[in-house]
Subunit: 356 residues, 2 copies
């Protein structure tokens, strides 16, 4: 059982050694007092939450994992894994590139190769081309299912709430992949019926927004709840828990481990996380989403102290606004203290969208 | 004229094309209102200052630079360069590794090779083995001079204040290297005479501290001034503007550009900046400094929102205290609002050191 906190950890490789991949708890304000004995106060809620759960021994996944895989994404996580190491049975840290260059891709592939070595060592199993191909097929099918769900949300009236769709994207990290794929496809069948009957969870013409930015781990539903309790529906998430995590499939060509590993590397190297510099494709895709999902505006969501996304949010807002897509930038944490203030700002933004 | 903000940008390569290397202004609370129109408020003072100076056009160095070299160190700087690019004539961003691995070193060497290409393109000159060897000699001599100064500070009474020594370490980034080397060696001659005569700037037996952490760019003298206005003397700086920037020389072996570039890469790859994970040699060296400079304690200095150093400060404090070296962790910015509070904390810490 391999636990992780990031979409750069390839489930394909874990499945190829018959492992179970699971996303670890990091979405609730649990035991932050404990976390702050080890971490600076000015650390993002996601990292504090991971520590709070671990220290409190209340995340069943992290407690039962054989290996926890860390990764050098942001400074916060990169340095936090140094502090987390001694708390865990086996922490394995994966390096990641910071630029979309040739050597960046080489580094990623090399790290995936090393990770295969680690998995083989832990499981005593060997990664084969067949196993890897089968694993890529399973994960592709899972991604295709959530992509199907994402596409259905282009309909008006919206057949599913953003909150429910987010939950699907969150469960993506926990459930058995084959069972999950089946369940999401069944859900999509039902939603397609709804679309046909023009049944929606909100009236036709409800203001539609995209949420873009930091990932929302279970049960971090604060901002989506505020948006959809107002007079708007979320029709897409440009997030690691959402389209950024799923828009690319692995295009397997060839029959050797090397060739399939190349395809997997290419797939993950596409991910346009804000830790990359520069990272122009991300805002490009937000624009594309707004268009294809018929959204009137974008709510940019940042966790406080998440430097990569906060730094990127200014230029992203500027580019979206200049493209005629109104954007609201929010910066918050897992606490509920600012819920009233956020509600007011979100309502004012939705009002702005309605005036257009 | 090549400007930079980081000790990972090799002056040797710049000198090898007869360029001038200069550290750019980032040490004063200047035009933060302007900077905050482009940057998040929760950005460290050093980055805000760089933007403030650029927007106000008051740093003569950045205004006259042909190229400004950015580097992917921390998230803050990495993402800030994306925003800074359009403000500059020519911004060149260098990628940096995050781990001290074989592929990390390969990446650094490759980046230095690309940087040579950029320098050759801008200057129209060719880097030769002779030119590179001569440049390495010039920079080595400059580093040897500040290392000589650092070693002299082991004497009690302290022959030079920490504030003056910091100024030398700051001017390191601005002055002509040959002139600077001469001036520092002259200063060292004078200090050695003082040591012989047992003349000090503070009485013998004054409490001695090491300052460790974030770099202090001109004119960021806030914390050293508070320390030395109290009843203590700073005898060493474990900082990029200090020993971390200078403790390694380039050990040139061989006569080809390739071999010298290898030596330069090895030299820079030693730098134990907190952006690396893990980064154990840094705290190891702080302990070594405390011993050889006869310091009674360490003041760990962090700029607010500088995640790598803030994250590292907890484990560093723990290891130092466990080694019997009392440590005070400070987190501040370029403002003067907290000067009173810092003074009280520093005085209490010095009192603790005296009681031992």
């Amino acid at each position: 059982m391999i636990g992780s906190y990031c979409v750069f950890v390839p489930e394909e490789l874990i499945l190829a050694v018959d492992g179970v991949s699971v996303g670890l708890c990091a979405g609730a304000e649990f035991n932050f007092e404990g976390a702050e004995t080890l971490l600076p106060r000015n650390t993002c809620s996601l990292i504090k939450s991971a520590f709070g759960f671990k220290l409190g021994k209340v995340c069943p996944y992290v407690e039962s994992c054989d290996v926890v895989v860390g990764e050098n994404t942001c400074d916060g996580k990169k340095k936090a894994y140094e502090i987390m190491g001694p708390l865990l049975r086996d922490l394995y840290v994966m390096d990641l590139p910071q630029m979309k260059s040739g050597s960046g891709r080489d580094l990623l592939k090399e790290e995936y190769r090393k990770f295969i070595g680690k998995l083989e060592e832990v499981t005593g199993k060997k990664v084969t081309a067949d196993g890897l191909k089968k694993a890529a097929g399973i994960v592709n099918a899972k991604r295709a299912a959530v992509k199907r769900l994402a596409a259905i949300r282009a309909s008006d009236p919206a057949p599913i709430s953003g909150l429910d769709a987010l939950l699907v994207n969150q469960v993506f990290f926990y459930d058995d992949p084959i069972r999950f794929t089946g369940a999401v496809n069944t859900l999509c069948d039902q939603l397609e019926l709804r679309v046909k009957k023009k049944n929606g969870v909100f009236p036709k013409g409800t203001t539609r927004v995209i949420v873009s930015g930091c990932p929302m781990a279970v049960p971090n539903w604060k901002v989506p709840l505020l948006i959809e309790s107002g007079d708007a529906v979320i029709v897409g998430e440009e997030s690691c828990v959402g389209e950024r995590g799923n828009r690319w499939l692995t295009e397997v060509k060839g029959d050797t481990v090397e060739e399939i590993l190349d395809a997997i590397t290419d797939r993950y190297f596409n991910i346009d996380c804000a830790v990359f510099t520069p990272n122009p494709s991300r805002v490009g895709y937000v624009k594309e989403m707004a268009k294809k999902l018929h959204a009137q505006g974008v709510i940019h969501y940042c966790l406080q102290f998440c430097q990569p996304y906060i730094m990127e949010s200014g230029p992203v807002e500027k580019e979206l606004e200049e493209s005629g897509i109104p954007t609201l930038r929010l910066e918050t944490d897992y606490g509920q203290e600012d819920a009233g203030q956020l509600k007011t700002r979100i309502e004012a933004f939705i009002e702005r969208l309605k005036q257009r």
